[in-house]
Symmetry: C2
Subunit: 305 residues, 2 copies
């Protein structure tokens, strides 16, 4: 048992055509942990913050049964800050500012009680740090990894080392094309799985997600949301829902992986309905499960042909 989540903890300033929020709670570890918290707990979160990190954020995480023994607070330093602006169609965003602050010297130390975790989710951080985390773990059985263009372009050798040690890679479609150097997603998936991960999930934003496993592909739809307020954290919420459901069910068979993808999509759909982490703060498992069922309905066809 045990679910370990590693990633960034951030203070985000986000502007969309609808609204703006300053220094809000953000970061990959936060979105992943909040999304996973609706499935099982405690969630072990490893990250770093500065002394400007609000007590209220700590309380919010603790209220969601997120264990913070692994959250390091650095005195006299500032939390990682990110600022972005979304365009009218919300599929395009500009990064306005990235202040690494405490993240620049982050050296993750995994608390003793976390080291036997069976499920590990390596959020989007420097692959060198992802490797350091894995070195401290005692034989995890299911490791899931996220990454981004920045590391694919800048730290490819380290990323390839990580990929040899993970069971699942979760990336978006443009990242998959970049990593495989191949525009056709189906070919790209084959090339990426040859780099290590047995399973590959390609997120396609408003077009859903693809799960590549064995010789098949599972295509999960996106939820048809009329009002998307803030896409920040959608991919991390997906990862959190995915791993949270697997950890809850302790079943990594293919049919259950498919359901986990749909639970991932479910958590992403809640995330983008409100600003910052607000969409993940006050859900019930009944709400999560109801939307999961809505997702299944979206692509169901009666085959009485």
């Amino acid at each position: 048992m045990g679910l370990l989540i590693v990633g960034s903890v951030a203070l985000d300033t986000v502007a969309t055509p609808f609204d703006r929020i300053d220094n809000a709670l953000g970061g990959s570890a936060v979105y992943i942990s909040l999304a996973a918290s609706y499935f099982s707990g405690p969630v072990y979160m490893v990250g770093v913050v500065g002394e400007d990190f609000d007590r209220e954020h700590i309380k919010l995480l603790e209220d969601h049964n997120i264990d913070l023994e692994g959250l390091k607070m650095v005195d006299g330093a500032k939390t990682f800050r990110w600022s972005g602006k979304y365009h009218y169609d919300l599929n395009v965003r500009d990064t306005l500012l990235t202040e690494l602050n405490v993240l620049a010297t982050f050296d993750p130390v995994i608390p003793e009680k976390y080291r036997k975790s069976r499920f590990v989710l390596l959020g989007n951080i420097d692959p060198t740090l992802q490797l350091k985390v894995l070195e401290q773990m005692e034989n995890p059985s299911f490791v899931i990894c996220d990454t981004m263009n920045f590391w694919i372009e800048g730290k490819k050798a380290e990323l390839l080392k990580v990929l040899k040690k993970v069971q699942v890679l979760i990336i978006n479609d443009s990242e998959a094309r970049l990593l495989a150097q191949e525009p056709n997603l189906i070919k790209a998936a084959r090339l990426i799985r040859a780099m290590g991960p047995e399973y590959l999930i390609i997120k396609k934003g408003e077009h859903g997600a693809l799960l590549f496993c064995d010789n098949t592909v599972f295509s999960a739809p996106a939820y048809p949301l009329e009002n998307i307020y803030d896409p920040t954290g959608a991919g991390d919420s997906f990862a959190g829902g995915f791993v949270g459901y697997l950890h809850k069910t302790q079943d990594i068979g293919i049919e259950n992986l498919k359901r986990a993808v749909v639970f991932g999509s479910t958590m992403a759909s809640f995330c983008v309905e409100r600003f910052s982490t607000k969409g993940l703060e006050n859900l019930t498992y009944l709400q999560v499960h109801d939307r999961f069922r809505e997702f299944l309905k979206l692509s169901r066809v009666d085959d009485d042909d």
Copy 2:
């Protein structure tokens, strides 16, 4: 009974990174009719060609039980020609040449025996011509319409008149955003259905298709093709499979519309596997049905949660 298809008949010159073909059979009416021919016949095709239109093309269409009484041949004139070039990722294409030729003065005359057709598919041509076709029909019960950016921008008033008379509009995602002046597809769908069509299908290329009906959305996946040789005609093949299946089953209930969307996707997937119309020329209904079942498997999840 009866299925009427109106659209362009063309000689296409297409280059992709893999191959090139000159003056090949093409045009919306041709792709739609060939795809529909696998479901029921005869298909009534209305279009126009010049005297340069090859006898072999006529024979190919007739061999697929496509009735050509409605195909006008203009002496001393040339067939519509289109030439395009696809880029490496196949999602981007440049139109190199458009020679309207006989299409410039096309005035569709619907043969007497076609006028009682219950199903009508208005392929992508000038909405003024689409209206002329509808005026000649005797109370069709199910009219499906395709269009494109060019008409949305240049003939919006005429297009809006067409939309008031059709049951289904089939367009792609960028066209839907343009027509509704709204980037969110779900909102765009609501705005477009308020223009007339009870049902709306939004094609998303490699991301599948959405069917909007009543208060629900059906999300159909795309087939995970490793080798796409020529995307030309994919949207028309989709429309042909969709209307062909509806005409065969004579059932326009929502569950059957969903199946028709999957048959549309099925025909599009065959189309893009080979150059020009080659992918639609030598299929059997068994092959079509087998791929339909593969499509259903793609998005199936066992809900034993």
